[in-house]
Amino acid sequence: MNVTIVDYNSGNISSVINSFKEVAKNNINIKVTSDLNKIKSSDKVVLPGQGSFKSCVDALKKINGLTDTLNEFAITNKKPLLGICVGLQMFADIGYEETETKGLGWISGKVSKIDNQNGKYKLPHIGWNQINIVKDSKIFKDIKNNSHMYFVHSYEFIPNDKNIISSTTDYSSNIVCSVEKENIFGTQFHPEKSDKIGLKIINNFLEL
């Protein structure tokens, strides 16, 4: 099986690479590239993302044909794709970080700043928080409810269709921390930094 981690200069992805390589078994080939043909021929794609919504969308667009290739992969061909952090946020129609920016529009909704309730909640939301699994998700196989995951973000994805939400976490409000819509998966937390339980989620995705 070929799994591609999309390398589109979205910031630091070495931890994502290390964790997938750690989990991957012999028959799983992890590639790190932005080569369109390699993405097209992959069985699964991982879309990481660090920094701002705008900087990630800009970086995606900078690579000619990448957005179309990802659309074809995830929407037309319905192959499994996992977005991590801003990678998940980019599924939205629109994001408001820095300035209003259009997202991939795969899951309708918006990405807005977490309400810090006048300073009551520190931002970024950094550290380990528990996930409340609200819907069965294939990537949560053998993951216990209330497991701790590592988060670092100031913006949250607010999808219009609440049925695609698979887990939330409590920080100021119930923040969406994972989604599953058919073949599209996303986590707001960082499975690659969430210790053994995070690696288990990565393994679940690889075993889909």
Partner: protein
């Protein structure tokens, strides 16, 4: 609920741990990779390396250490010490560091924090503030505590937040190494001044000090070095103790 983080810090010099865990079953007590792995297996919420290598020719060793560690530890790894430029940050992140902690360079050249937080995101930029009480205020020191910048630590903390820091690692120089507890006054004043998380550092001698840092110092995370070295307390003992006292931790 967001948990309070416990962060063990390892001082690394020329690629070797200076003060390490004194465990008999360690193959190599000076190997930072192996020590970091013990901490992460023990439940550390993050690992921090402070590179205290003095000579320039040995500066590159830390990259190799970070690269090896990041392949074995799947919790966040913060690396500080000797970072001078955006390029240094880029190199560390590429080697597998999740965050960098910037001290002297943040004081001397505000562009380093501004540009790196724009380029890599605030989530990976920690500004380390070494502060010393001079009677009526705290002043920021640089160069491993050797130079007094004369800058007010509270004002500086606010400035760093505006410049794009995602977290502040606040060390009380008065308390560092004393084992009498964090400078609670300093921690709580800085934490109240900014809206970003504060990591308390400097002075931990026992587990109650960790609680004080969180409860009284309003820190989001507590960093300690020596209490975890030489096996005085394990990470698990620390977490169990905090949990028993009602402090939310990841167990």
């Amino acid at each position: 609920m967001l948990k309070n983080r416990i962060i063990p810090c390892l001082d690394v010099k020329n690629g070797r741990v200076v003060k390490g865990i004194n465990f008999v079953d360690l193959k190599d007590a000076g190997d930072p990779v192996e020590q970091a792995k013990i901490y992460s297996d023990g439940g550390a919420d993050e690992i921090c390396f402070l590179d205290i290598t003095a000579s320039n020719e040995n500066r590159d060793i830390i990259y190799d250490v970070v690269e090896k560690t990041s392949k074995k530890c799947f919790v966040p790894l913060t690396v500080g010490g000797g970072i001078r430029s955006v390029e240094d940050i880029n190199k560390l992140l590429n080697c597998g560091a999740d965050k960098v902690s910037i001290n002297t360079a943040a004081v001397e050249n505000s562009k380093v924090v501004i540009e790196s937080s724009k380029k890599f995101g605030s989530q990976c930029i920690v500004v380390a503030i070494d502060a010393k009480n001079n009677g009526d205020r705290w002043e920021v020191f640089t160069h491993g505590g050797r130079n007094n910048s004369g800058i007010d630590a509270l004002e500086y903390a606010k400035q760093m937040e505006e410049n794009g820091a995602g977290e502040l690692l606040v060390t009380s120089m008065d308390r560092d190494g004393t084992q009498v507890g964090y400078d609670i006054d300093l921690m709580s004043k800085i934490s109240s001044k900014v809206n970003i998380p504060v990591i308390a550092s400097g002075g931990v001698g026992n587990l109650d000090h960790l609680i004080d840092g969180i409860k009284l110092g309003k820190a989001s995370a507590v960093l300690a070095a020596s209490i975890f070295h030489y096996g005085k307390y394990s990470i698990k003992e620390a977490k169990d103790y905090l949990d028993s006292k009602g402090i939310p931790v990841r167990i």
